[in-house]
């Protein structure tokens, strides 16, 4: 390249510099409107490609930021979407609890289960209701599906619940058919997560699928709370007793909300936990009631229509001139005179 050092510093350079300097000063002290017009013209003509280039570059830079923001939003949405099934399940459980609370005719306290990150979480639960809410020791704790356990200790704001999975859990129970009774306890050996229905007399056979309810004996659990369903025989002592395996009605590990029954234990809660057949009967009964009400409404509609029709006939009859009254017939041949329709408040 030709180096500037090889060139001489001429007077022309000074003139050019002064000319540019003068033009710059003119531009500097020119009216703003003129400067804006020149800027606008330059941006719209010779600088347009450069402006376009810079705009694309800015888009590229902000595009990365937008992509990051969109990625964050997408991740958040995906995270929230992952919780939707659990929210739906919780919603369903809350609806069931609401339904149960309507059926319960005895006092209760609703509580939320504070699950802990412990392996023994299913045996004892911490709930957020305590003595301040009316919870006391030995209150029964139920879920919409059935029995959860009993309050082991109550503090002011929270309580500890011993669930049916606890080794010391016992509840007196009987079958829904009423032909067998015994004691329900957790199955400790080989069948974790199941219950045992012990002490059933040998002569009383309980078929699989039979619902087992709390009997109310013992003064702790009210009568009629579902405990589990018979799934089979675990063992038997010939001539003495059978021990049945129960599938628990409620799962403490998945319970998020429970009801603490603060009612006296002699209450009968069987109607609050209807069996499937009872629910079906209730549903049919409600359908029948709806049909009955529909038939009553239909009858009322027909009656209104008939009444309106008779009114039309009546108005037509009163609008036409009546013939002169006939002479009164002889009493012997008197026929029953037509009774004029009522013209009271019912005619509008």
């Amino acid at each position: 390249m030709t180096s500037a050092s090889e060139r001489s510093y001429t007077r022309r350079d000074t003139v050019m510099f002064l000319a540019c300097l003068g033009l710059s000063l003119v531009a500097l002290f020119s009216p703003d409107r003129l400067g804006q017009a020149v800027s606008r013209g330059l941006r719209g003509s010779v600088l347009a490609p450069l402006v376009w280039l810079q705009a694309r570059a800015e888009e590229g830079r902000t595009g990365r930021a937008r992509l990051r923001a969109i990625t964050v939003q997408r991740d958040s949405a995906a995270y929230l979407a992952q919780g939707i099934p659990s929210l739906m399940a919780e919603n369903e459980r809350l609806r069931q609890l609401l339904s149960l609370s309507r059926r319960l005719s005895t006092p209760y306290v609703a509580a939320e289960v504070l699950h802990q990150a412990q392996a023994t979480d299913g045996r004892t639960l911490l709930i957020d209701a305590g003595t301040r809410d009316g919870v006391a020791e030995f209150d029964a704790v139920v879920a919409p599906e059935g029995l959860i356990g009993v309050v082991l200790g109550a503090a002011e704001r929270n309580s500890v619940v011993m669930t049916w999975a606890h080794p010391e859990f016992r509840v007196s129970a009987f079958t829904v058919t009423g032909n067998a009774s015994g004691i329900v306890a957790p199955a400790l050996l080989g069948a974790e997560g199941a219950l045992e229905f012990r002490g059933v007399p040998y002569r009383d056979s309980v078929p699989p699928g039979t619902l087992v309810l709390s009997s109310g004996l013992g003064g702790v659990y009210p009568k009629g709370i579902p405990v589990g369903t018979v799934t089979g025989v675990i063992r038997e002592q010939a001539g003495w007793e059978r021990v049945y395996r129960l599938r628990p009605a409620a799962n403490p590990g998945s319970a998020a909300h429970v009801l603490v029954l603060v009612a006296p234990p002699d209450a009968d809660l069987a109607r609050a936990f209807p069996s499937d057949s009872a629910l079906e009967a209730m549903r049919l009964d409600s359908i029948a009631r709806v049909r009955r009400s529909d038939s009553i409404a239909e009858a009322e509609r027909l009656a209104r229509a008939a009444r309106a029709e008779s009114l039309v006939v009546l108005r037509r009859d009163t609008a036409t001139p009546r013939p002169a009254p006939r002479p009164a017939p002889a009493p012997r041949s008197a026929a029953p005179r037509p009774v004029p329709p009522a013209t009271g408040d019912s005619i509008r």
């Binding site: 390249m1 050019m16 300097l21 531009a27 500097l28 020149v38 330059l42 600088l47």
Partner: protein, 165 residues
């Protein structure tokens, strides 16, 4: 093709490359206040090669471009770049020889001087002027000088300059 014509083409290519960097790469870099000013770098390179008069004209044109693209007062950029283009070429012709550090130094000083004249001419208040002149402008001058070193090292054959500092 004569040597002079080849040199002019090479210089034009380098300047075009710097303009591309200024409008395509610079917006993608970090904060604009301390990002390298490739346009001023091109002005300095051109002025040091073309002489004070051409440097002043080039500075005026570059200033018009910056005035059209920035919301500062119209004419302030033209004035600042004219002064820088002229002084850089004049100083190189009078005092300095070809050297990497000299080129980078010219870029840094030129940028700081450009900012000073620009801020004064556009009527910037004292406090922001001091902050710009003492903080942001030196930072940007340093960054621009570093990038100038990279550019010069990449095109050292075309610029025929020594690599020693």
């Amino acid at each position: 093709m004569s040597v002079s014509r080849a040199n002019r083409i090479q210089l034009a290519l380098v300047l075009g490359f710097l303009v591309l960097l200024h409008f395509w790469v610079r917006p993608r870099l970090w904060d604009a206040r301390v990002s390298p000013d490739f346009l001023l770098m091109a002005l300095v390179f051109f002025s040091m090669r073309a002489g004070p008069g051409a440097g002043a004209v080039a500075g005026f044109l570059v200033g018009l471009v910056t005035d059209a693209l920035t919301p500062a007062r119209f004419g302030a950029g033209a004035l600042a770049h004219t002064v820088v283009g002229y002084l850089v070429a004049w100083a190189r012709a009078v005092f300095f020889a070809d050297n990497l550090a000299v080129y980078a130094g010219f870029v840094a000083v030129g940028l700081w001087l450009r900012d000073l004249v620009l801020l004064v001419a556009s009527g910037t208040y004292r406090s922001p002027l001091l902050a710009e002149v003492t903080l942001y402008s030196p930072l940007q001058a340093l960054v621009t000088a570093l990038f100038a070193l990279l550019i010069l090292a990449a095109f050292r054959e075309w610029f025929s300059i020594r690599l020693d500092l």
